[in-house]
């Protein structure tokens, strides 16, 4: 079959006409931009619940006994659901489903995703998984309190942990549904990036946002299977009394009729998913930050090729390091050598990315609107959190720190806070494009400062708590007699900071809603950006994105401050002036729609 004829046929399938009814336009929409906003809003709402849970956790730790609903069992439930919500239902969904959907088609110059119907299905499947997640709160015994890692046997043995009945079953079902949604999304994103790029958009001209989301989607496609399989087997253990993960156990004097299961098998499956999952979240975040930094530094991203290869290297290595989460799990201790070595090797591509972000700022012409502040905040927290990975990855240094607050501080900074910073940077940065109005800069800056300082106050002290050896997932430290009393002071500080940071997010919500309705009208390209999404005929981009003609790409995405150019940015759609082929180029340029003027303010 001919490739070209099929291509034409497929292009024709893309939204011959715009849907007009309310339901097809805003609810069961197949437009990638609408789906992106649905994903974003849903994920942020779910995340708000996760944020409230973190308040409850912090209140108990800072002011023990101050909130009556936080008891030893509900503490574990809040903690478990907080982790699950934040990692999967907020970060993964928002970065892939939200930013992936919004940016991929616009940045590669296509009218929509390859499979708009599948895209819609992906969102609604995600929606169902969220319903199931919350349904688990209302069943007998409540939601699971086995930690977001759901380690068996305790997660599925009734009586061994809170919510070990229908709570964990609904959660596992929800995860299985989420995996289905994530897989549908990933297939769509990967196919779209590989097959639908507009003329001139070679792989090495893709903006790093697209690269980050693309590699993240590939990781999702190949890592979610392990979560799915582990989840199904755990569900069978819970529902049908199989013994995949449960050996002979005796719970409170009761000998259970299980036999011959291996709890470590689940840990391997979980972390075979769980480690790439970290990168499913952070690689898209890295991509967004790269583009935002370059734009507001008015400078090309430093070492674009190295950035791409670093993304690919991190993605590849992330599949062979999973058992560094299991150094003291009782697995064969000789595995430790390999997993430690492979893990610290990841530091090299990660460091390359950090250096290149810094060198992007070097000799730039930096401006500091809110997205830029959050992007720099990302680099800072990513480094502050990432470096401590060198303790935890280096097997012997992990032994005293494993499962202490050191770990909590590490992953919150490196993939929680920094991913959220990238998301916030991205939302502020693309808000004028998505909504057509500017957000309020003053509110945005207040939001940044409280969040940035607050995040450090919450999570940095955890490192010293970890050195002191405070185990994580403790409802109270009253029983640990040999802790210095100043620990409680730290806990109070962290709780106050957490409440302040949480409150600052209300400013963000208010800013977004108010600005969407009343904000100043935004120009098509307010940041003076080079990438395609800023060159759309109208803002917000129309249904089908580009009007009658698809854009044609002539250069990479980072021609900022190009010597000799009239402005300090050259859009990707602007032809390369080639003296030899000048006549040809000039001809092509004339038939090109002129990009809108960007103020560069």
């Amino acid at each position: 079959m001919g490739g070209t004829s099929a291509k034409h046929a497929e292009s024709g399938l893309h939204h011959a006409h715009e849907p007009t009814s309310f339901w097809t336009k805003y609810v069961f929409s197949q437009d990638h931009k609408v789906i992106a906003i649905q994903y974003t809003v849903t994920a942020l709402l779910v995340g708000a619940v996760g944020l409230v849970f973190s308040w409850l956790i912090r209140l108990q730790l800072g002011f023990p006994g101050s909130v009556s609903i936080v008891q030893p069992d509900s503490y574990l439930q809040f903690m478990t659901q907080h982790g699950m919500i934040m990692v999967i239902y907020l970060l993964t969904a928002l970065l892939l489903g939200g930013f992936g959907n919004y940016l991929i088609p616009l940045m590669i110059g296509t009218r929509d995703m390859a499979f708009p119907f599948l895209n819609m299905l992906s969102y609604w499947t995600y929606f169902v998984s969220v319903i199931l997640l919350f349904a688990a709160f209302f069943v007998a015994g409540g939601a699971s309190g086995a930690g977001w890692t759901l380690y068996p046997p305790q997660s599925v043995l009734e009586g061994a942990s809170p919510g070990a009945g229908w709570g964990v079953r609904l959660l596992l079902l929800s995860i299985a549904v989420f995996v289905a949604s994530g897989t549908m999304g990933s297939l769509n994103y990967i196919t779209t990036v590989l097959q639908l790029r507009t003329q001139g958009m070679t792989l090495m001209r893709l903006p790093l946002s697209v690269w980050g989301i693309f590699v993240g989607a590939v990781l999702a496609l190949l890592a979610f299977p392990a979560l799915f399989v582990g989840g199904v087997m755990l569900l069978l253990d819970s529902l049908f009394g199989t013994s995949f993960f449960i050996p002979i156990v005796n719970v409170f004097g009761q000998q259970l009729g299980r036999e011959g299961g291996n709890p470590l098998l689940f840990q391997h499956l979980f972390w075979y998913f769980g480690h790439p999952e970290v990168y499913i979240v952070i690689l898209p975040a890295m991509g967004l930050v790269s583009d935002i930094l370059a734009n507001h530094a008015r400078k090309p991203i430093f070492g674009y090729r190295a950035m791409v290869w670093a993304l690919l290297a991190i993605g590849g290595i992330s599949f062979v390091v999973w058992a560094h989460h299991m150094f003291v799990s009782g697995m064969n201790p000789y595995f430790g050598f390999w997993f430690a070595a492979a893990t610290v090797v990841i530091a090299i591509p990660s460091a390359v990315k950090t250096y290149n972000w810094l060198l992007t700022l070097w000799r730039g012409n930096l401006r500091f609107p809110t997205p830029m502040l959050f992007a720099i905040g990302f680099v800072s927290t990513f480094v502050a959190g990432g470096l401590t990975g060198l303790f935890l990855g280096n097997v012997i240094a992990d032994v005293p720190l494993h499962d202490t607050y050191f770990v909590v501080g590490h992953f919150h900074l490196v993939m929680g806070v920094s991913a959220i910073f990238a998301i916030l940077a991205g939302i502020y940065h693309w808000f004028p494009k998505a909504v057509g109005r500017m957000y309020n800069e003053t509110l945005g800056k207040v939001h940044f400062w409280v969040t940035f300082v607050g995040a450090y106050l919450i999570f940095f002290p955890m490192y010293w708590m970890g050195f002191m050896g405070l185990p994580r997932r403790y409802f109270s430290f009253a029983a640990v007699e040999t802790l210095p009393p100043s620990v409680q002071g730290l806990n109070v500080l962290m709780t106050v900071a957490a409440l302040a940071v949480g409150a600052a997010q209300l400013l963000f919500v208010f800013n977004m809603i108010w600005s969407a309705l009343r904000g100043k009208r935004a120009e098509g390209n307010p940041w003076g950006a080079t990438t395609l999404e800023w060159q759309t005929p109208t803002t917000p981009p129309p249904h089908g994105n580009w009007g009658p003609e698809l854009p044609v790409v002539h250069r990479w995405a980072y021609d900022y401050s190009l010597p000799g150019a009239p402005r300090d940015f050259v859009p990707q759609t602007e032809p390369e002036p080639q003296p030899a082929a000048a006549a040809k180029a000039a001809k092509a340029a004339k038939s090109e729609p002129q990009p809108e003027e960007g103020s560069g303010a």
Binding site: F368, G469, S476
Partner: protein
């Protein structure tokens, strides 16, 4: 204004972090075992990562002030610099090797217990720790999870080696002799637990259906807390036990006064 403000905040932040660390306001609890090498690894890692942390933030702070927007100026077009990139990769790789090589060396000692240690079986259950020490014959009797139905330690009372095993029931402290290598053989009765003694720098999960182990030499006398470091349910935060490290003579004296398997459980009738 945002540039200088960011620089000031970052400088304050880094200064505070370095200050707290150098002053040692919050630090590891005093070492009480042979694992000084682990402390050394932590210090090496802290120094290297600390340098990187300070350097990166110093650069950010400098750049956001030095290169903040000026109307008349344009950024310099510097797409890359392969030489500089290679140099940075080299420096990073070197730092990593410095961390990894000694780390793996210490780890290889960590996973190889010395010959002839004092073997102590640690049994984790919701939410307490029990212990079993070999009696006069110097060996532990057979144990099997199926036997939890018969006695709380799951010991095979018909095994001739089991009768003189010394039992430390949940709630009672474990005593250990100072200066002698100890090998914990760790079991779990119900769910995952983790043996964690902060002053000894050791940690190892207790996994039902599996026997795990960890070794150390207590080098200071005193009482230490053994905490659970793996989430094991509602009572996780209360699951602790005491370890009393004392002289060999005191230890032997304590050992003699403990209940043995044959005293505690009627041997199985055949």
């Amino acid at each position: 204004m945002q540039g200088p403000a960011l620089a000031i905040v970052i400088v304050l932040l880094v200064a505070a972090a370095v200050g707290v660390t150098v002053l040692g306001i919050w630090w590891l609890p005093p070492l009480a075992s042979n694992w000084g090498a682990i402390d050394m690894m932590l210090v090496i890692t802290l120094v290297i990562t600390g340098i990187a942390f300070v350097a990166v933030h110093a650069v950010i702070a400098y750049f956001v002030v030095r290169y903040r927007r000026a109307r008349a100026k344009r950024a310099e077009f510097i797409p890359d610099n392969p030489k500089l990139e290679k140099l940075l990769i080299g420096v990073t790789a070197l730092g990593i090797v410095i961390l990894l090589a000694p780390g793996l060396f210490v780890y290889s000692r960590f996973i190889q217990p010395p010959p002839d240690p004092l073997v102590v079986e640690v049994l984790g259950q919701q939410w307490a720790w029990g212990y079993r020490l070999p009696g006069a014959d110097g060996e532990l009797g057979r144990a099997d999870p199926e036997l939890f139905a018969q006695n709380p330690f799951g010991v095979d009372t018909s095994d001739p080696k089991a009768g003189d095993d010394v039992l430390v029931f949940p709630g009672s402290p474990l005593h250990l002799p100072v200066g002698r290598p100890v090998l914990f053989k760790i079991r779990a009765k119900d769910v995952l637990h983790s043996v964690y003694v902060r002053e000894f720098r050791v940690k190892m999960d207790a996994v039902p259906g599996l026997l795990t182990q960890v070794w150390f030499v207590p080098e200071k006398t005193g009482t230490f807390e053994l905490l659970c470091a793996e989430l094991c349910g509602i009572g996780h935060f209360n699951m602790k036990s005491s370890i009393v490290v004392e002289s060999e003579a005191e230890f032997q004296d304590w050992l003699r006064r403990q209940t043995t398997v044959s005293q505690a459980f009627v041997p199985a009738q055949d």
